[in-house]
């Protein structure tokens, strides 16, 4: 299962390689397997795509215990890089930013 973590930044230039390394380091401390696939900085947002290979998609909820780990990860990133966490989306779902970007790119290629 791939999950996008969406943040709003303050206009600062973020080092995406550093963020990716930080996310992978944090994931290695968690009891869930995960790998940061990409970090994309847009004009207002920062989207971080993480693959959780052992997880299957579950119905949208706010009480799934696994989601607490996602909140922990997002919290670490928000504190470390002084950015505002907004929400996550299952990659490919309606409000998924990266999915739409890829879709738009293919559409016009």
């Amino acid at each position: 299962m791939k999950v996008e973590f969406i943040f709003r930044h303050k206009g600062q230039k973020l080092n995406v390689a550093e963020i990716q390394a930080y996310v992978n380091q944090k994931l290695s401390e968690f009891p869930i397997k995960g790998n940061c696939e990409s970090v994309t900085q847009m004009s207002k947002w920062l989207a971080i795509l993480v693959d959780f290979p052992e997880l299957k998609a579950h119905p949208r909820s706010y009480h799934e215990p696994i989601e607490l780990w996602w909140e922990v990860l997002a919290g670490y990133i928000a504190l470390q890089f002084d950015i505002r966490f907004l929400h996550w989306e299952a990659h490919g779902e309606t409000r998924s930013l990266i999915y739409h970007m890829e879709w738009e790119r293919k559409r016009y290629m």
């Binding site: 706010y62 009480h63 215990p65 607490l68 780990w69 996602w70 909140e71 922990v72 990860l73 997002a74 919290g75 670490y76 928000a78 504190l79 002084d82 505002r84 966490f85 907004l86 929400h87 996550w88």
Partner: protein
């Protein structure tokens, strides 16, 4: 002494750090009261990250109509609290209609009982001013802070939270007791 309630702004570093500080103290107080809860869901060492990650997301999406506040005494923050409605029962099953506001009260100094009683009393008055007749207030089990000191505000234990069914399913201990507080 003047008490004031202000919304928390998570874009502001001071507010963010204050909220984390209060929630961390709350979790430490719970860990004292219910040691088996401390690391049961998320280990305590991640409490700062969990607190802010969860709060930012709930605040952004306005899940369960949540809103976050701080209470200041003479300009000095003394507690944070969350106001939300409940759309689920204690076993997290949807309710047909949302119920009273639920207050999660995170004092900056959990042991400053008298200060916390006055802050909480102020919150209840503030809710009353907003037209609410009752509220649900959550407290760590075995350590029902200040409730015995709020003798003039009738309250009763409503449920354990999360409910037994949910806790059994996920193998987690009871986190809070929920009290109904009358706001006459």
């Amino acid at each position: 002494m003047s008490l004031e309630i202000k919304p928390l702004n998570f874009n502001d570093k001071f507010d963010r750090d204050l909220y984390i500080y209060c929630v961390r103290n709350w979790h430490q107080a719970i860990a004292e009261a219910v040691p088996e809860y401390a690391d049961a869901v998320i280990p305590m060492k991640h409490v700062d990250a969990l607190a802010i990650g969860e709060a930012m997301r709930f605040d952004h999406l306005k899940l369960v109509n949540v809103s976050f506040y701080q209470i200041l005494k003479d300009g000095i923050p003394m507690a944070c609290f969350i106001l939300r409605s409940a759309s689920q029962d204690e076993n997290l099953k949807p309710l047909s209609s949302p119920i009273y506001p639920i207050i999660a009260f995170y004092p900056a100094e959990p042991n400053a009982i008298l200060d916390n009683v006055s802050a909480l009393t102020h919150v209840f008055g503030w809710l009353r001013g907003k037209g609410f007749k009752k509220a649900w207030f959550r407290a760590p089990p075995g350590k029902a802070w200040f409730l015995d000191k709020l003798a003039n505000i009738p309250n009763k234990k409503v449920c354990e939270y999360p409910g037994a069914e949910y806790r059994q399913r996920h193998g987690i201990p009871r986190a809070w007791d929920v009290y109904e507080v009358q706001l006459p």
